[in-house]
């Protein structure tokens, strides 16, 4: 399996309020074979997508959406059992304990590292540290 196809068929939700970053991220994930849900730029839009979509294999979640925290979206994803990562500019200490265990990708985002987290078969790859 080539790395460019490592996300083949994965349905990934992108939640990011900065359009250029969201578009960039979506394009990069699609280049690796993923099907992107969204992007959503607000907590409300993201919650609607989480409620409406039949299948979500993973999610990339910006913590700060136009001044609003995306933790309700994180809770909804947890309830559905969807794996997700935070993309954030916040340091670990600024994140509440309840979400401390969620993997974080710091901005600016390293697409390679990010897609590694959601690849179909991670067993033939070394564990990635972010």
């Amino acid at each position: 399996m080539t790395e460019s196809q490592s996300l083949l068929g994965r349905r990934l939700l992108v939640v990011e309020d900065e359009y250029m970053i969201a578009a960039d991220l979506a394009r990069a994930l699609e280049d690796r074979g993923a099907e992107v849900i969204g992007p959503a730029g607000s907590v409300e839009d993201a919650l609607n997508l989480v409620a409406a979509e039949q299948r979500i294999d993973g999610a990339v979640l910006d913590i700060n959406l136009r001044g609003e925290r995306s933790y309700p979206v994180a809770d909804a994803l947890r309830t559905r059992g969807v794996r997700f990562v935070f993309t954030t500019g916040y340091d670990a200490w600024a994140i509440p304990d309840a979400y401390a265990a969620v993997p974080r990708v710091e901005k600016p985002v390293n697409i390679k590292a990010l897609s590694g987290l959601f690849s179909i078969d991670q067993s033939d790859e070394k564990p990635r540290t972010l």
Partner: protein
């Protein structure tokens, strides 16, 4: 007159009473001396020599009133003491007396008339100076404690080693609204925030091992029922040998403002970090987008640099405004000046005050930058006959304020077949602004130049955007 009382004939002690003589001679802690009815010294024991500094032969035949210092009334006081002794049968007092060298001693004294009235008096003095000083110091330190404890802004308390209070300062009662009676024992816990009581109690368990009590907790202020952060410290008083009986003295200091500022600083620091990283994210995507639309590395360098310039101008305005809303007009003019500073005649800008939320400023600046760059390369700012008008108006729509900016070029000969491609600028205006700012946008390439309309929500009044 008995011979034993004669002043010139040695100690005026009854010669036949050996016991009395021995007491007189050996009582070195007591000054014992006799005086005649007028205060003239008739005998002076070794104790008197030691305590008062006069040798026997220096004072015999002279007035013993010299031991009364002026501030105690001097000779008058001595005479008064004799009158009192005659009237009462004895005169007892504690007062300052004066040694030969002028120093003072605090003496406990007794003056009694001798059996034979005109024989005079016997006086006995005991030096109580050190006890007096100690008592004075104790009173002073108690007063010092009282003044400190009742006047410093801190709330002061005394307690047992388990936190059981035995005393609370008036400030505590004023602050907490709990009376002295309600505060002692564990009554004071009532004023501690329920969430902090466990920690407050647990700290007393640790305090004995550490020799110091320390906790930060919220204490209810009775005036407004507000819980305010306090730092409470206590230490044991090291005066008892029994560790259980040791009293602890403590203070509670209001650190509410400090805590609030610290919390605020933490939030600000997190926000700063967030913005910094987010900005890098924007720069990253700006680079990727520019790479995609650049035929050559030179094109990339030009475009990327000028876009960074726009980003930097927006950041500059944001820094100046301290992240409060930014005037749309400032943003428009900053972008146009960066492109067409030499040719102001071509450009008209017009519009009322329109506060743009700080978080919208960056995207707006980038969009205006793309319009301006395009105008310089292909449009109104690059062609001699070209004119540009940027007008905006503000509308209030059901509590929402919105500005509509109209970018209108004229006198332009558009390149054959319209714009070469829909590039970064088009995507920014047609997709990024609606996505990110909730803006409504129209972008048209007309034969006489570019026309663009951007309707963008404004900051609500007085709202800080952070």
């Amino acid at each position: 007159m008995q011979e034993s009382n004669h002043p010139t004939n040695g100690p005026a002690v009854p010669a036949d009473n050996e016991l009395l003589r021995l007491v007189f001679e050996s009582a070195t802690d007591f000054a014992i001396f006799t005086i005649d009815p007028n205060g003239i010294t008739t005998s002076w024991n070794p104790g008197a020599e030691r305590l008062l500094g006069y040798k026997t032969d220096e004072i015999i035949g002279k007035s013993a009133d010299v031991i009364f210092p002026a501030e105690e009334g001097g000779f008058e006081a001595a005479a008064e003491e004799r009158r009192s002794a005659l009237a009462q049968g004895r005169a007892e007092d504690e007062r300052w007396q004066m040694r030969k060298d002028g120093t003072r001693l605090w003496a406990s004294g007794l003056l009694m008339p001798l059996a034979e009235r005109d024989a005079g008096f016997v006086k006995m003095l005991r030096d109580r100076t050190s006890q007096h000083r100690a008592a004075e110091q104790l009173a002073q330190s108690e007063e010092l404690f009282r003044v400190l404890a009742t006047n410093i802004p801190q709330l002061v308390f005394r307690s047992k080693s388990d936190g059981e209070r035995t005393w609370a300062s008036p400030q505590w009662t004023i602050f907490s609204g709990l009376s002295f009676a309600d505060s002692i024992g564990f009554g004071w816990l009532d004023a501690i925030h329920p969430d902090d009581r466990e920690e407050t109690q647990a700290a007393w368990l640790e305090a004995r091992a550490k020799g110091e009590y320390y906790v930060e907790h919220r204490v209810r202020r009775s005036a407004d029922r507000e819980f305010r952060w306090h730092q409470t410290r206590a230490v044991p008083m090291k005066v008892s040998s029994d560790a259980d009986a040791v009293d602890w003295v403590g203070t509670m200091t209001d650190i509410h403002e400090l805590r609030v500022l610290q919390d605020r600083q933490k939030v600000l620091l997190a926000e700063l970090q967030h913005r910094r990283r987010n900005l890098l994210g924007v720069v990253q995507s700006l680079a990727r987008q520019t790479i995609r639309s650049s035929p050559s590395l030179d094109d990339f360098a030009d475009d990327f640099e000028s876009r960074l310039g726009a980003l930097s101008r927006a950041q500059g305005l944001l820094a100046q405004s301290d992240n409060r809303p930014i005037e749309l007009g400032d943003l428009v003019r900053a972008e146009l000046e960066a492109h067409a500073s030499a040719d102001v005649e071509k450009v008209t800008t017009e519009g009322p005050a329109a506060p743009l939320p700080a978080m919208s400023a960056q995207s707006m600046a980038l969009a205006l930058h793309e319009l301006a760059t395009n105008a310089v390369k292909y449009g109104a700012l690059g062609q001699p006959s070209g004119r540009l008008t940027v007008r905006w108006e503000v509308k209030n729509d059901q509590s929402r304020r919105q500005a509509t900016v109209v970018w209108s070029e004229s006198g332009v000969a558009m390149p054959e077949g319209g714009p070469a491609r829909k590039g970064y600028g088009s995507e920014l205006i047609e997709r990024a602004l609606p996505y990110q700012l909730g803006a409504k946008t129209k972008l048209r390439f007309e034969p006489d130049g570019v026309h663009c309309e951007i309707a963008v929500p404004l900051a609500s009044e007085e709202k800080r955007d952070d």
